[in-house]
């Protein structure tokens, strides 16, 4: 394989991976954030304490978390086909990736929100704040550094999952690795793919750490 061809394949693969990870990460954020907050609010002693709802949400999250991703990938094929029209290609892979990432991120959100000092919630309630106020002005801003760290972890997990999506024709770097590395023994190319993945993960982790550090430093110092 020519270097030219390799570069072309790598570029396309990386873009596909970013496409899958980006969209599924966004959906995980939009879906997981309220789910995680609800898990805290509906828990015993929470502002919206509701045992049945809490059990139901917790159950859904646990099912989502306990399925190995590769199985989820296969199990969701009919659902994906219904939603996207096909089960092949990067866009189709977004569906199982998002479904897998929502409960994962929701649990991280739950942990982050739970760590917010209850005294702050009480202070907001004592000054006449509603549940919405507490969530928007206390829980989320106070948990922001942990939430960013959780999102970073989620995105990195998604990069890993997206490679698995290659097994069912998801495209991206995973498909490249399977086609060229596993089926055609092109070890050089395989190593390149590994290098790209390492770079991707490192960049995401560093960026996430940087944001978390900035947020934490801001809280300790002047604005």
């Amino acid at each position: 394989m020519t270097a030219e061809r390799m570069r072309e394949l790598l570029l396309q693969g990386t873009l596909d991976t970013l496409h899958m990870v980006g969209w599924s990460g966004l959906i995980a954020l939009v879906g997981g954030l309220p789910l995680g907050v609800l898990l805290v609010l509906t828990d015993r002693g929470g502002l919206l304490a509701n045992r049945p709802v809490n059990k139901l949400l917790g159950g859904v999250v646990n099912i989502g978390r306990s399925l190995p991703f590769i199985i989820l990938l296969v199990a969701l094929i009919p659902f994906t086909r219904l939603l996207v029209g096909t089960s092949i290609g990067p866009t189709a892979a977004i569906v199982p990736l998002a479904v897998g990432a929502i409960p994962f991120f929701a649990r991280l959100v739950e942990t982050a929100v739970r760590e917010v000092d209850h005294g702050l919630v009480e202070a907001a309630l004592a000054m006449g704040g509603s549940t919405g106020t507490v969530v928007r002005k206390v829980l989320l801003p106070q948990a922001l550094p942990s939430l960013v760290a959780g999102l970073t972890t989620t995105v990195i997990v998604l990069i890993g999952y997206s490679a698995m999506a290659g097994a069912v024709g998801g495209g991206g770097l995973g498909t490249l690795a399977l086609t060229y590395g596993y089926q055609r023994f092109e070890t050089d190319f395989m190593l390149l793919i590994v290098a790209v993945l390492v770079v991707l993960v490192t960049v995401v982790q560093l960026a996430g750490d940087l944001v978390v550090r900035t947020l934490n430093r801001r809280e300790r110092a002047d604005a």
């Binding site: 005294g119 006449g128 509603s130 801003p141 110092a221």
Partner: protein, 373 residues
């Protein structure tokens, strides 16, 4: 301003029932600083938290500024719109300040303003700056709370509590995390706000020092009940109550030489303004002059609610009553009765004589130097 009737609060923790409040009837008049003191676990904090319904009373009613909050509460743990509106007019400060680290000092004060209707961003900022100015922290508006000292954090907490122009301030152990010096300055601020804004303050504390410093009235709580209560002035002129005893703990027993007479003076609120001349009508000065050679062994005198109150223990030499040549404590006591001073020979609660013998053990050693403020 704050009235609770038969307030009862029962917690249920792991199947066991704990009664935090057991039929509390509290009445806090408008404009007063009302202290609630008691050992930890007495239900003091539950009482404060029931006043703004952060804790739901199991039974009984809470009325603040004529509004029956328990009727507004609705069912379930969530606060309805009316209760939330009522809460904006009840400020609360906390032991651990509870400031948001994600916001600046000014942002923290703006938080309660954000759910008041009809305030623009600029109005909120201006009001927050005014409030910070009131507590003397306008120059720290842009700082994060983490950069402030404990006393400064509590001042921000107070500024935040005042945002909704409340008539009532609930202070739940607000000075318990602060050192004595800072405690005094925060209490002084609360006293100033009480005077300048007519703010009614319900002050929860476990320190008698705090009560002595700022309170007009005080209630003693134990095991979910109010055991004693009254204005400080009344408590002082009503000796024998637990609160009076704890405000001014009795002195320890004294070894006496033969012929010496021990005299305890209880000051029940001498008004210093009424006796501007220090050696004039001040009964304390008069007593000292009537007892030549008398020595002050210990004294705990303080200005409480604008009046001097406390205990002074005197040893009068060569005054053995039995010899006849000394002084007559009964006559002296009669002379000063009704002038805010009571004389007593220790160990004999009715003031009967007893000389040259050590007094029986007092319940608590509590003599400390005079600390006028």
């Amino acid at each position: 301003m704050i009235t609770t009737t038969d307030l009862t609060r029962v917690h249920r923790a792991r199947g066991r029932e704990v009664t935090a409040l057991n039929g509390v009837d509290l009445h806090v008049p408008a404009g007063e600083i009302f202290g609630v003191i008691g050992p930890s676990g007495a239900g003091k904090s539950s009482l404060a938290r029931c006043v703004n319904l952060l804790e739901r009373p199991t039974s009984g009613t809470v009325t603040v500024d004529g509004l029956d909050l328990t009727a507004l509460a609705g069912r379930g743990p969530r606060a309805g719109r009316e209760l939330r509106a009522a809460r904006t007019r009840i400020g609360m400060v906390f032991q651990h300040f509870n400031l948001l680290s994600s916001r600046t000092v000014r942002g923290n004060v703006e938080l309660p303003l954000e759910h008041l209707p009809g305030l623009t961003r600029r109005e909120r900022a201006r009001r927050a700056m005014e409030l910070l100015d009131t507590v003397g922290l306008a120059d720290r508006a842009g700082d994060r709370p983490a950069r402030l000292s404990g006393g400064q954090k509590q001042r921000v907490g107070i500024a935040r509590a005042l945002a909704g122009r409340p008539k009532v301030l609930l202070s739940d152990e607000a000075t318990s995390a602060l050192d004595p010096e800072t405690t005094r300055s925060v209490l002084r601020l609360i006293r100033d706000l009480n005077r300048s804004l007519g703010l009614t303050v319900l002050l929860i504390t476990h320190e008698m020092e705090v009560v002595r410093e700022v309170c007009d009235s005080v209630a003693l709580m134990e095991r979910g009940r109010i055991i004693e209560s009254g204005s400080l002035r009344d408590l002082l002129s009503r000796p024998g109550t637990r609160l009076a005893r704890e405000l001014f703990p009795p002195a320890a027993p004294e070894p006496l030489a033969a012929g010496e007479l021990l005299l305890d003076l209880e000051l029940h609120g001498i008004d210093p303004a009424a006796s501007p001349d220090p050696v004039g009508p001040d009964p304390l000065a008069e007593i000292l002059r009537a007892l030549p050679g008398a020595e002050i062994r210990s004294a705990a005198v303080d200005t409480v609610a604008g009046r001097r109150a406390g205990r002074v223990r005197l040893v009068v030499p060569g005054a053995t009553h039995r010899d006849g040549g000394g002084i007559d404590p009964d006559a002296l006591a009669a002379r000063f009765r009704g002038r805010g001073v009571e004389l007593r020979v220790p160990g004999t609660p009715d003031g009967a004589r007893g000389t040259g013998v050590p007094a029986p053990a007092a319940p608590a050693p509590g003599a400390f130097g005079e600390a006028p403020r």
